[in-house]
Amino acid sequence: MSQINISTLQRCANGQQLLRQAGKISRRENLWLTLTGALQTATTIAVTGLIALLINSAVYTEALTTPVLWQHSGSWLLLAALLTVRALLPLWQTRLADSASVRVRNRLRAIVLEHCATLQLSLEQPFSHAELSNLLSGEIDSTRDYFAEFLPQQRLAMLAPLMIIIACLWSGWLVPLLLALTAPLVPLFMIIVGHKAAAASQRNLTELTRLGNLLSDRIKGICALQLADSCDAEQQHLFRQSEQFRHSTMQVLRLAFLSGTLLEFFSAISIALVAVYLGLLYLDKYQIGMWQEQFSLSHGVFLLMLAPEFYLPLRRLGALYHARADTSSVATHLLRLIQLPPPCAVTNDDQSQPDNAPVRQISLQQLQTGYGSTAIAPPHNFTLLPGQRILLKGPSGAGKSTLLDTLAGLQPALSGTLLLNGVSIAVYNNRRWQQRIGYMTQQPELLFDTVRNNLCLGREFTDAELFTALQQASADTLVAELPGQLDYRISDSGGFLSGGQAQRIALARVFLHQPALLLLDEPTANLDQQTAQQFMASLKRFCATGGIVLLSSHRDSADQFDQVIALQPLTSAEVSHA
């Protein structure tokens, strides 16, 4: 079994190619699915043949030998057995198809997550959180029909008609020839009509999604519309949009349904042709297309019953076309994500720093921050000492958050060096360094999980320790009032945590883990004055134990800090000592 890895998928030129590669993940199941599909067709052929012989023996042939076929109980048992096999085979096929699609989807998820782990923060620019969450929890799931049904059916649509043509050769050559001649016409017409229809239905699908999105968007923003007294107007607007959509869709569908109708046409006309041809043959109007000069009813029954079976796999495939259209848009998203280049990491071999050497000094020398290759602010030059509280000041866009990201080792520096206790250290992706960092982001980061898990994050603490940290962040009463207290699950439907409350819990987490360097991005933006003062006091206590606090804000006054670093987007950073 081959294991498709990320580099194979990254080389894909487009979404279709990616889907082909991804389909190879379930190669073994696909093989089995093809085999069972072939077996299914073989059973159908056998059932048809047996029925033809039974009818023939009962109605057509003179009873020369007794008993004739239909009087043998064996033939009935065989027919029952074949029919049972044909009825039960799909059970196995579904099982196979489902496990194939699960395997493909699992692998795709793993590949995406693996790549996300290398991309880290570079993910944030091109993708929003919602897009990523939707990709991994909705879009990849929605490819089920494609991998479970479309892919296997695609092969069967080739194989099954071929088997039926071969089976028909038992009787004569004209009917198989007829089928064989229409067979290439079907894909040909599918290409002519289908390509247009596929493009049209793709467009239609986009329209439908857009309309669905419009409705969901308006439902999400229903409050704004209610406040503006505009719900009635919006209702009319939605109606007009829907009507517009109806007109455009029906235009598209008139074309799109043609391809399905075409298959229907071939299927119906082939039955009619075979029936008329056979009828005239029996009436001795002509002698053409059969191996024997005299042939029995069984041949006629056999050919007539197989004719519709010839087009059945193609018709099934046509019905699954939507799965393909849905999946190719998912594939485009996937490809865009996995082809994102990981950040160019600075070599990371300098881990000579002892694990827990106390921090005596952190110096930045011409440290240039930025995203990708774009510098975001002038290079930084300053020194941080234990016990210091430092304020990072500057207008939005001056690179405050980027500097904090860089210091936390989350973002590679473009150039310059960072010295820890006078020795140069590469902090980017440096696990040992990152373990000593406490970081609170502008939007407090909280998992949809219990308060306890949010605080501990995989490390062990007692409840007393947790409450001490919560108290430091003045969040102890808040947590005590929650149902279930530390076991309260934070979720997007709770409504229990306001922005300020979430921030205090995130702050408690920072205090709990006692970092050497504490980075805070706009921590007081959502805090009321009283809490903000308590908060500054607790920072002071934290620094008294030797910690360093670097806090970014565009508001706090400088007098509570030991050092103020003012960032300007264009001019050089100024350092002043308070």
């Binding site: 009825a87 099982r95 923060l121 569908l253 109708t261 029996y282 939005s396 933006a525």
Partner: protein, 539 residues
């Protein structure tokens, strides 16, 4: 019957011409398909038997059956095409009304107590809307076609071979009634479980991507990824089980159909042997059965589709309460130039909380003053705002407004929602304002520069993938909306969070001029912005 379902059928009744035509064409198509097989079967058996004797072969009129066969194949082809077009047309016509009316149903409800913005609630709603929309197309049409075809089939069989008809009664009943019911169970039961598990998966994914920094620093990226994979695997498993269960019902269906084939063959041959059935009709009856089976297979999921649609409409209907809470605010003397709000013994407790968030509040707010709510978070600032705006209804107490009508209270919520659409749409929200008015307002909130940088200025598309305003810009957009709405009582929930202090001061300065004779209530943490004449209000 749920109100919306009744409404659905009303809408369908309005489109009865198209809907009936669709149903008719669907039936014709199905019957033509079955008849095509049957007549072809009869034709070749008849010719084959006639061919045995030269005289019979010579006298056989093959023109009529040939023409019928060709006619049926054409009827089937064009019937299918017409059926698809008409059923879709009818569906879309109903959907247009249904969509907008479902929106109206939702708009009647206040979403403050039970938030709609959670992923689970909104994805459920969208799922439901989809199911509701396909009620006619995937439930009514295939279901009715199945019933009708089965009845006609039975009648035909009875005509030629009554004994066989009796034999087929049971398997037909199972195919038409029992199996669809079984199928329905297999679909409905796991649907809820799967929905919950997929929601869990979404929230794990969301946890992962919105906590990147924390997870990297704590080296928790891998465990969280594993957790996501695990919850995806659980949901996949449920999906697999459900699909297996459905397939089991389908297999049962196939077995019943196999038994029908055996019955027809056995009874047919017996009938022929005993002279009750002509030999030419044996193949016809068999092919009739095969033709019907295609229709039965398509129809077996109709009941499940109906149940899904029914439940969906029921759930959407339940979202809006049967007895909507009446607005308890009182409005007196709307023409009075002096604006006043009297709050008497006001109490409010959230349904899922034990303590009241607002407990017997008594206060009086008077224009033209600005009132500042500066309490610590979690003490009910937002709740009071929503009570004043009528978004929540108190359990006790009374709010009386004088000098302003019900349409004169405007609010800027804490969370400003951006709607998909142009900047103009996001400002106007379906009301009409001139370009000059819009630019004036943008200038007041200092968004004019930002807006003039947009590629198509006021007509630029905002939102995901194009121009996503930052947090501070969103707040200012919310302010701009409120200014345009021009209300006499203005409620502002955290209007300056995320806006630079200097800019906040400048914007508030302008607002003070603009709103000099109105009543303004602001909840904010930023005490530095409180003006000299303003009143600080503590809850």
């Amino acid at each position: 019957m749920p109100e919306l379902l009744k409404r659905y059928f009303q809408l369908l009744w309005q489109q009865r011409g198209m809907a009936t035509l669709g149903l008719l064409l669907a039936t014709i198509t199905a019957l033509a398909g079955i008849a095509l097989l049957a007549v072809s079967g009869w034709f070749i058996s008849a010719t084959a038997l006639a061919g045995l004797s030269l005289a019979a072969a010579h006298g056989f009129n093959y023109f009529a059956p040939g023409a019928i066969v060709r006619g049926l194949s054409i009827a089937r082809t064009f019937g299918r095409y017409g059926e698809r077009l008409t059923t879709h047309e009818a569906t879309f016509r109903v959907i247009s009304h249904l969509r907008s009316e479902m929106f109206a149903t939702l708009a009647k409800h206040n979403w403050q107590e039970q938030p709609l913005n959670s992923h689970e609630a909104s994805s459920r709603l969208l799922d439901d809307i989809r199911h509701a929309e396909s009620l006619y197309l995937s439930a009514l049409v295939p279901g009715l076609v199945m019933l009708l075809s089965a009845l006609l089939y039975l009648a035909t069989v009875m005509l030629f071979l009554p004994e066989l008809g009796l034999w087929l009664l049971l398997p037909l009943l199972i195919s038409v009634a029992v199996l669809p019911t079984l199928y329905l169970r297999q679909v409905l039961q796991p649907q809820n479980t799967l929905h919950q598990q997929r929601s869990q998966q979404w929230s794990d994914a969301h946890s992962l991507f919105s906590n990147l920094r924390t997870l990297i620093l704590f080296d928790r990226l891998t465990p969280q990824s594993d957790k996501l994979c695990q919850s995806a695997a659980i949901a996949d498993q449920t999906e697999q089980q459900a699909s297996n269960a459905r397939q089991r019902v389908q297999a049962l269906n196939q077995l019943v159909q196999a038994s029908m084939i055996l019955l027809v063959l056995w009874q047919g041959i017996e009938g022929f042997a005993s002279g009750r059935l002509e030999g030419t009709l044996l193949l016809m009856l068999l092919l009739l059965t095969l033709g019907l089976q295609e229709v039965l297979t398509t129809g077996s999921s109709a009941l499940a589709a109906f149940a899904l649609g029914y439940r969906a409409l029921e759930r959407i209907g339940q979202l809006s309460p049967v007895h909507p809470q009446p607005d308890q605010r009182q409005f007196i003397e709307p023409g009075n130039p002096a604006i006043r709000i009297d709050i008497d013994h006001l109490s409010y407790r959230y349904p899922n909380r034990q303590q009241a968030t607002i407990d017997h509040l008594n206060t009086r707010l008077q224009g033209p003053y600005w009132y500042w709510l500066t309490n610590p978070s979690g003490r009910g600032k937002t709740t009071l705002m929503q009570l004043l705006a009528g978004q929540l209804q108190p359990q006790q107490g009374q709010i009386t407004c004088s000098g302003a009508g019900i349409k004169q209270i405007g609010m800027m919520p804490q969370q400003i929602s951006l709607l998909q659409g142009s900047l103009r749409f996001n400002l106007c929200l379906h009301q009409h304002y001139s370009d000059a008015e819009l630019w004036q307002v943008l200038k007041t909130v200092e968004l004019d520069q930002w807006a003039s940088q947009l590629p198509r200025q006021l007509d630029s598309w905002l939102g995901k993938g194009s121009h996503q305003p930052s947090g501070g810009e969103m707040k200012r957009l919310g302010l701009a909306r409120l200014i345009l709405q021009d209300r006499r009582i203005l409620l502002l929930d955290e209007p300056t969070a995320g806006i630079d202090a200097e800019r906040s001061v400048r914007i508030l300065q302008r607002l003070r001029q603009q709103w000099h004779n109105r009543l303004v209530v602001i909840s904010s943490h930023e005490c530095g912005l409180i003006g000299e004449d303003d009143v600080e209000l503590r809850l």
